[in-house]
Symmetry: C2
Subunit: 465 residues, 2 copies
């Protein structure tokens, strides 16, 4: 495109939205150049910060007419590079679309603009006497639109499902500016294709999410937290099955930590060891219920039975909220990864649940052989089949690419997923083939071409055309 044409595009943009909502060139703040993924920063042609769906539609119509790519941006906390600008694009930040439009406590529904933070939704839910089903570390910065676009996971998946299962409706603007108002507040709505599903997890490649209708969940009246030492992975699965058999969907969390992770966490965060001895694995278990005391008794009884069955070697049940927080502190080591590893090589993979133990063993053996002395931590939302792995780049001669290739090769061998919850973005694009067949990728490209024939929406993310 010739420069005069770009100039006329930019002035049309400023005319449409007003100067305050448009920044161009060097005036675009650096924070919009990349996200938490560590991908190299890219300056967009312009940054727009619309305040309404109508303004988003106007921007997209204009970009469509001028064949300018659009990269939607939420809280920029993504770990896969999905919101990093591409050369010559308009970065479309939703941060000014942060209205909490409606909270209906009676029917447990919330309607928000896409730029509202996750934490704001969580707080609105609690104020209405309910809870929101998704929680993750970036809650204060990440935005609902980004959570939907990446189908965010986090700590509540075991009980409430991923972000997809919290979404009752979406308003989306397509590449040509068409608005799809899929916001009818019904749990059940079988009227043709459930279009909103197409945009959940699409990482902004099919349209811009502008408004979201979310369902809330009942607030549990009591919660029990236990830290449980198990001798091996199959015992951990047996404990999970036992707890779910007894407490059903009230098992709110089942996080597993391998000993290497536990030791790193204790050291990095200067914690006291939670149990007298070291064990191969520790499970953090949350259970919801009606009454603290009787719930603790029931959890103690279930864990006692598990101990008799040889599934549990030791356990502690929190006697207070403070003690529960102390136990959960052990799980918060990931916040230290960036300062303690040089650099951390982080993985977010999913595996058939029964195979997670064997997968971790295979990785450990593989890395032991190739990088003796490597420092690798295993932990994750094992109740969901989701394992996180972090390897210290300094302990593998900085061979980050080789570590990635080795791990994803094992994921492919175990028929796992190279991305459980973080998405593909730019970062995992080279490995997508390990979890998807060429036929599946062709079907995705056909969908992309159908909804965005000019390939203007977040081009080059997830897959190349």
């Amino acid at each position: 495109m010739s420069l005069p044409s770009i100039d006329s595009f930019l002035s049309a943009l400023q005319q449409q939205l007003g100067d305050a909502a448009v920044q161009t060139g060097a005036a675009v703040e650096a924070r919009f150049h990349t996200d938490w993924s560590g991908q190299p920063p890219v300056a967009p042609l312009a940054l727009v910060r619309p305040r309404s769906t109508e303004e988003v539609a106007a921007v997209l119509r204009l970009c469509h007419a001028h064949r300018i790519a659009v990269v939607p941006q939420g809280g920029l906390t993504g770990l896969a590079g999905g919101a990093v600008p591409v050369q010559g694009c308009v970065a479309l930040s939703l941060e000014r679309m942060n209205a909490m439009e409606a909270v209906d406590a009676r029917t447990g529904l919330v309607t928000v603009q896409a730029g509202v933070t996750l934490q704001a939704v969580q707080e609105a839910a609690v104020a209405a006497g309910m809870v929101f089903g998704v929680d993750l570390g970036a809650r204060g910065s990440c935005q609902i639109g980004g959570n939907v676009s990446t189908n965010a996971g986090g700590n509540g998946v075991l009980q409430h499902g991923m972000m997809r299962e919290q979404v009752l409706g979406l308003e989306v603007v397509l590449a040509d500016g068409t608005v799809l108002p899929m916001l009818r507040p019904m749990l059940k709505n079988n009227t043709g294709y459930d279009l909103k599903q197409f945009f959940i997890g699409a990482e902004g490649t099919l349209g811009v999410i502008t408004r979201v209708l979310l369902r809330l969940r009942p607030m549990p009246q009591a919660k029990a937290t236990a830290l449980v030492a198990v001798p091996h992975f199959d015992a951990a699965l047996a404990v999970l099955q036992r707890m779910q058999g007894r407490f059903g969907n009230s098992v709110a969390a089942f996080e597993l930590m391998w000993d290497s992770f536990v030791q790193a966490s204790i050291q990095w965060q200067k914690l006291q060891a939670p149990l007298a001895e070291r064990h191969p694995l520790l499970a953090l278990i949350d259970v919801d219920g009606k009454d603290e005391a009787s719930l603790r008794d029931a959890v103690e009884e279930a864990l006692g039975e598990a101990m008799e069955a040889g599934e549990v070697a030791d356990a502690v049940i929190a006697q207070s909220h403070t003690q529960a927080r102390t136990l959960w502190k052990l799980r918060e080591a990931p916040a230290e990864l960036n300062t303690q590893m040089h650099p951390p090589i982080n993985f977010d993979v999913s595996l058939p649940q029964a195979d997670i133990g064997r997968f971790a063993q295979a990785i450990q053996a593989d890395f032991d052989a190739r990088w003796p002395g490597h420092h690798t931590l295993f932990f994750g939302h094992v109740g969901d089949g989701n394992l996180h792995v972090s390897t210290d780049g300094a302990t593998v001669r900085g061979e980050c690419d080789a570590v990635e290739a080795a791990l994803y090769a094992q994921v492919e061998r175990f028929h796992g997923s190279v991305s459980a919850e973080h998405g593909i973005g730019l970062h995992k694009k080279p490995f997508l083939h390990a979890s998807r067949t060429p036929q599946e990728l062709a079907a995705m490209r056909a969908i992309k071409a159908a909804l965005d024939p000019l390939n203007l929406m977040n081009p080059g993310k997830v897959f190349d055309l």
Copy 2:
């Protein structure tokens, strides 16, 4: 297409699958000509009953080469006409693909061919010590592939969600015979578009579902059933909110029956009245728990509080399984609709939950004015926002079309859905516009054209191109 070409197509079909798997012309049994919707029967050009995914792919490749339409058929229990053959089509029945391939009790996963009945999955789940999340009246005949294709609802939605939320993976054959093996057994799998979502609820218009990976749910150890009389709709919602606030996701059913329905049910099924007096509304409530006696006590306590708050006028809690079944019998009147109404005009609509009471009143008033003496029943899965309405055609001068138009006009006015759980098929195609904007329909057509460019998959269902 000329006749010689059809002959060569049919002989190629028979050569591919063997004579036993192919019937043509008058040899096709009448049961494959229509479904439970009452749509006029249509004889297909041929009926094929493949035994494997490979055979399905071979059929679709052949149909694609000869430009022959394909109508997938499951148990033919659909109420919207989605599986009724179209002129000149191949009807593709999945009934021979009824293998229960794998049941993994430890991780709660089941893999089945698409032709397995819902009941067979339910029984396999129970044999593995778990339950399957979807249940509906046609369980003995309907097939899992059809349940997925229509995103079936039923009695378990409040607790476990629709069929969509039970599906972890799908194998689908596209119109050109391409097989998409989206069967990785992971709860979390953010690797590009979640393609399987596109086929759930697509009513066979995007491909043929051949295998399904399902998740099971923990089996509740105890269940309490209560029949609760409430004075008005808002009180019913208050009771639901109260029960969910106390029992969370353990509230397994919340079915509401208006008095007209209750009286018809008592009369048709020759039941004893369950309560001493008549009430405007009765709610059937199931709650899961750990222990029958303490659960009944807790439900009684909660209902006692609701009574003090004026939300409940009378209630009975089942003291045995037999009594629970007797209470649930009241909800089974719909099985009598076809013999008791002449004909029944049935509706399956969804509304913003808070508006269901006002919607029912509006319909009643509307019909009272236009068809004095009409007999109309209101009932439904109100916990899910799903209302069923049945009007006796004999009491509205047989003006079935006018009754439909009047009801769907109110659905549009209340921003509801013309199909909560039955789908669109042929039957509701004229009313789809009441729940979807032209822009949404255009996006659906674009998706359809992307995955089935020759419009061979179940053409003319859901929408016209």
